[in-house]
């Protein structure tokens, strides 16, 4: 039987345990899977980190959780840097998390993927929302650093393509603290002043951390809500930022953005010249077309006219031969004759119409004779 020499209160014992744990472990790196994640209104995050065999309670205080750029979720594999200690009220040993990293991939990569997925679901990348880029913008707003190669290259390309362009540069930090606030301010400025017709948001290539400002949700939402169309030109060909997806047009590099935003002036000259030439040519073609139509008409007209004449002539001949058939002259040919009273010209059909001494005209097939009546044949 042990001697009851020194009796400890629970709180004293707990304090001792806490001291031993804190001093013998201090800060540790622990890996495991998140479960039972919850965030009460206090803003602190509570979860359990577990593996196949064991689990341990974890706390992430609000001020530290703000530094975590990705979203904690149940099932996520994490690497924690945490202090082992005891929550004295419950006698519960737990990890007070100081740093947190997703296992397997970088935290930036995970945050990027999570935000991308969330914004896709929300419709921020929808093609239907994208605004057209004006064809020949009067003034181009450029948001980038005022120093370095990016702005210099862009101005150079713009100058080569179109020697009289207008650019309004809004200089911003493109990485590090303050970068996202700068970018948001610049986009809001151009929208408020409405003094540019298109915005190019540009930055040279870099690591995902370097480009992070362009993967911030705040920046993505401001780009989405911009009334001025935005061309995103961040990083190199292969770098895709959240801004690239939300913007109205994505250019693979800042230099390409400068080419996309403005047409080549020489091409425009050529186009106008082509059109002018075409207008000239079509009108030149028009005149002979009309001449040909006139020629066509004239020959058709004369053809029709001669046709009508031919028809009429044929008709005439038919009528004439019909008339011939009816003519009494044909009867005369057969030896008959026609007699009329010479004075009156009346045809003589009745012998009693004449008396002796009257003169009559007898028409024969060939010529006619005039005779004086002696009497009717009954009297002779």
């Amino acid at each position: 039987m042990l001697e009851r020499k020194h009796v400890l209160k629970v709180s004293e014992l707990t304090k001792d345990i806490k001291l031993i744990l804190e001093t013998s472990f201090g800060f540790v790196w622990v890996e495991g899977e998140v479960s039972n994640l919850r965030q009460p209104s206090s803003g602190h995050l509570y979860f359990t980190l577990k593996d196949e065999l064991s689990q341990i309670k974890c706390v992430l205080f609000k001020n530290q959780s703000q530094d975590v750029n990705f979203q904690l979720k149940d099932g996520l594999s994490l690497l924690l840097f945490a202090k082992l200690s005891v929550y004295e009220r419950d006698g519960q040993y737990q990890l007070y998390v100081n740093k947190i990293e997703p296992k397997g991939k970088g935290s930036f990569q995970l945050a990027y993927e999570q935000l991308k997925e969330r914004l896709i679901k929300e419709g921020l990348f929808d093609e239907a929302h994208k605004k057209p880029i004006p064809f020949l913008p009067k003034t181009i707003g450029i948001i980038t650093s005022s120093t370095g190669a990016v702005i210099s290259d862009m101005l150079h390309i713009l100058d080569k393509r179109f020697n009289n362009f207008n650019v309004l540069l809004y200089p911003v930090k493109v990485q590090g603290p303050g970068a996202k606030e700068d970018i948001v301010e610049a986009i809001e400025y151009f929208n408020r002043e409405n003094n540019v017709e298109v915005i190019i948001l540009a930055r040279g290539g870099g690591s995902i951390e370097d480009l992070w400002a362009f993967n911030e949700e705040l920046v993505a939402r401001v780009v989405y809500n911009s009334k001025v169309p935005i061309i995103s030109a961040v990083g190199h060909e292969t770098d895709y930022t959240i801004c690239d997806f939300v913007a109205d047009l994505r250019a693979p590099t800042p230099s390409r953005a400068a080419e996309l935003v403005i047409p080549n002036k020489a091409d425009l000259y050529d186009k106008i010249k082509d059109y002018t030439w075409q207008i000239n040519r079509t009108l030149r073609d028009f005149i002979p077309q009309y001449q040909q139509r006139m020629d066509d008409m004239t020959s058709r007209l004369s053809n029709t006219l001669s046709g009508i004449l031919r028809d009429k002539r044929n008709l005439f001949h038919t009528e004439v031969s019909r008339l011939n058939a009816l003519s009494p002259l044909n009867t005369l040919n057969r030896g008959y004759s026609i007699t009329s009273i010479l004075d009156s010209g009346d045809l003589l059909k009745d012998a009693h119409k004449v008396k002796a001494g009257d003169r009559i005209k007898t028409k024969l097939s060939q010529g006619s004779i005039i005779s004086i009546v002696e009497g009717d044949s009954d009297e002779i």
Partner: protein, 80 residues
């Protein structure tokens, strides 16, 4: 008139003339119009002046627009 609209108009005139489905009077009218628009297009292309400016933020938060000269800004190369 905006350049883009002028260019579109020119295109429409060309198409209309090329279709051939147009009276001679109308064709001549469109031709004259086309020549005017073509001239206008060239004018518009050359009209704009080159201007490169920069927004500078004053201490009170207001933004002033100044002419931008690259060499003035290339002194400190610490930005990207």
């Amino acid at each position: 008139m905006k350049f883009e609209d002028a260019l579109k108009k020119l295109e429409t005139i060309v198409n209309e003339l090329e279709s051939g489905d147009i009276s001679l009077d109308k064709a001549i009218e469109r031709y004259q119009e086309g020549m005017l628009v073509s001239k206008k297009c060239l004018e518009l292309l050359d009209k704009a002046e080159k201007k490169v400016e920069i927004c500078l933020k004053a201490k009170d938060g207001s933004v002033k627009i100044k002419s931008f000269k690259e060499k003035d800004h290339n002194k400190d190369k610490n930005n990207i």
